[in-house]
Amino acid sequence: MAHGPAKGIGRWLFATNHKDIGTMYLWFSFAMFILGGSFAMIIRAELFAPGMQLVKPEFFNQMTTMHGLVMVFGAIMPAFVGLANWMIPLQIGAPDMALPRMNNLSFWILPFGFSLLASTLFMEGGAPNFGWTFYAPLSTTYAPDTVNFFIFGIHIIGASSIMGAINIIATVLNLRAPGMTMMKLPLFVWTWLITAFLLVAVMPVLAGAVTMMLMDINFGTSFFDAAGGGDPVLFQHIFWFFGHPEVYIIILPAFGVVSAIIPTFSRKPLFGYSSMVYATSAIAFLSFIVWAHHMFTTGMPIAGELYFMYATMLIAVPTGVKVFNWITTMFKGSLSFETPMLFAIAFVILFTFGGFTGLMLAVAPADIQYHDSYFVVGHFHYVMVAGAVFSMTAAVYYWLPKWSGKMYDETMGKVQFWIAFIGFNIAFIPQHFLGLAGMPRRYADYALQFTDWNMVSSIGAFMYGAAQLMFLYNVIRTIVAGKPTSVEKTWEGAEGLEWTLPTPAPFHTFSTPPEVK
């Protein structure tokens, strides 16, 4: 147990330490974030003006597909797993993750999986071009030959997620320090526990979906082919049975992060802790019974449309509880606005905005107008970017001093925040207007009347992209040349076991569990 970090590359290749593995997850996800971001930059550069300027339509399709796949599976999900690896053992007083070797296996699958996925860009036929939702028959009958690599890539990435999730569940349920009862768990741990449950429940569903694709493409089955008695709509049902919980897999850990940061900088305990736990559970439960709201235009009996419409609207209730609690935590608090807090407040505002557009999309008759338009693109980027990515950025600024023992430059952090915040809104507010005006998503070209807002959107996107490079610079500069800090509590208002540890957190922590009162 007393061993320190190994020397050289072996420390990373053969790691069993939750902090090292967490660090690898975080860096890997940032690399994928840059890769997926560069795909987005290509998309926005092409859409800067009508007509085809930079890329061919086929390549544009590959870019939209790969952007979605890389961001969802390569950037956001591993980023939160990295955060879970670092923080859950520290927050519950555990010596490590429950199954440290499996932890490393979960991580190392990802570089292989994503190399495989990215390598399809250079193969004959090109990368997947059927959208990140890979609807059949686009992804079966009309797919490029490389689709098999995509399928097997998804298989191993999914296996990685399942193992990571099982590890988190086992850690939270089994490795809590004495006295750390479930209702004392920091909310980040709670949200991750529920996220992990969602992962174990739906990643196998995704595996089933791609397996049926594989069989249809290569072995003559007819799951998604009406000629043999199957149904392409079946694919959409299966995909969204995975896909809707997946949305919450992405956002629930973000809720946890924000629920840690807002109390710290409000210098007040979180308002309504137990209602937060119940609201998270309610959201997770509802996520399993609303999937077909993604399919209002696909064709469903009217009773189905009504059911999925009302069930979806129900999600606004627990989500509203959360937003209410965050705001009430800040109410009459002694607020200060360090970078993590800025990102957290921006999260609350922008995520709520994304939630409201989500409600609009939940209205089945209205959705028939919005469906597959840029309105949808705008909506889910408010949730994915201003939701998940902003909270992730907040988390890095918040915990980086504890991880590295160095303080980031507050001014640089704030500058990055404002560029990201303004850039983000310039990029995505116009997309709502474009969508309402009728611009479809995933097209490489558009009618002339959409030009102005597309230009604005592209400028905002480049600005947001630049903010990420700045973020990268800030992090590296902090690690390399940041002001050393050894204060246990980086933030005076912070509560929780991680702030009782020395700064930077030693290689092994809580080898003897602390007593929680």
Binding site: I109, N174, S222, F223, P301
Partner: protein
């Protein structure tokens, strides 16, 4: 001996990254194999995975024998296996879900039910929904893309019951679950001899099931005209029973390993998790079969 205050965190290990490499090679190799690029990478990856799993499980077993596993660590393994089985439940749920959706919604719609019937009749005139689906929509419009099966494997009627293979498969598998439980019971009372016998019987029954399943597939392919390509009935039939058969294969192998361990003197009444985990898996596979028997065979 380790205690709760000393959770064993293993040293650096080469196994995980090699495991990841093997999975990466398998994914790449399977892609190549299907795209006519040969299957050597797939084979190398598979061989490496088997080697990694062998060494990994050997390591874990040795750690346990060396007394490095505290009760708390053992609970982590219990949680790990339980949630792994839950993920498997969800995997089968997809294929069952697909079957139910096709049978109760998609096929009737294709056959003209529902408010889109006018449109559907334009595309698939002459098609009648039925289950098991013996004539595919493609056949109904004169195409030979998906030719329905000549016969199906649903309940043949009481008079032919005894010659109906799925019934025997059900009996074999359900019996094996009982014998597996007997083995567990025996080890709980430290009766190693009985444990080995009952576990041996369980493994044998698993093997018999696989032989019967092979027989059924052979029969389906050579005599019944029931293949993966014979429309959605063949697709759902082979995917459900095929994945189940794969799981039985894995389960039989897992139990065989536990039998070898039993013969080598491993396990005691309070330390037998390797066996218990395999037996849970086995019971799970059994329950899946009951679902298959009902929804794929009997109620067809």
């Amino acid at each position: 001996m380790a205690t709760d205050s000393n959770y064993y965190v293993p040293e650096e290990s080469r196994l995980p990254v090699l495991g990841a490499l093997s999975l990466g090679l398998m994914a790449l190799g399977a892609g190549f194999a299907l795209n006519d690029g040969g299957s050597s990478i797939l084979l190398v990856g598979t061989a490496l995975l088997i080697a990694v799993m062998y060494v990994w499980f050997r390591t874990v077993i040795r750690e346990n024998i060396a007394g490095m596993n505290s009760d708390q660590l053992k609970r982590s393994y219990v949680w790990g296996m339980s949630w792994f089985i839950f993920s498997e439940v969800m995997f089968f749920a997809v294929f069952f879900g697909a079957l139910f959706y096709i049978r109760t919604l998609a096929l009737p719609w294709l056959g003209g039910e529902g408010d889109k019937s006018d449109m559907i009749h334009l595309v698939w005139p002459e098609f009648t929904a039925q289950w098991p689906l013996m004539e595919t929509p493609a056949q109904a419009v004169g195409s030979d893309k998906f030719v329905g099966p000549g016969q199906n494997l649903s309940f043949p009627g009481w008079d032919k019951l005894l010659g109906w293979l799925p019934l025997w498969n059900t009996i074999v598998l359900l019996t094996s679950s009982v014998t597996c439980h007997f083995a567990h019971h025996a080890m709980k009372h430290d009766d190693r001899k009985k444990f080995n016998i009952w576990l041996g019987v369980t493994v044998l029954l698993g093997f018999i099931f696989l032989v019967l399943q092979y027989e059924e597939y052979h029969h389906a392919y050579t005599e019944m005209g029931l293949t993966l390509e014979s429309g959605i009935y063949g697709s759902t039939f082979f995917m459900l029973t095929g994945f189940h058969g794969f799981h039985v294969t894995m389960g039989t192998f897992m139990l065989l390993i536990q039998l070898i361990r039993g013969l080598k003197g491993h396990f005691s009444s309070d330390d037998q998790f390797g066996f218990e985990a395999s037996s849970w898996y086995w019971h799970f596979v059994d329950v899946v079969w009951v679902g298959l028997f009902l929804f794929v065979y009997v109620l067809a």
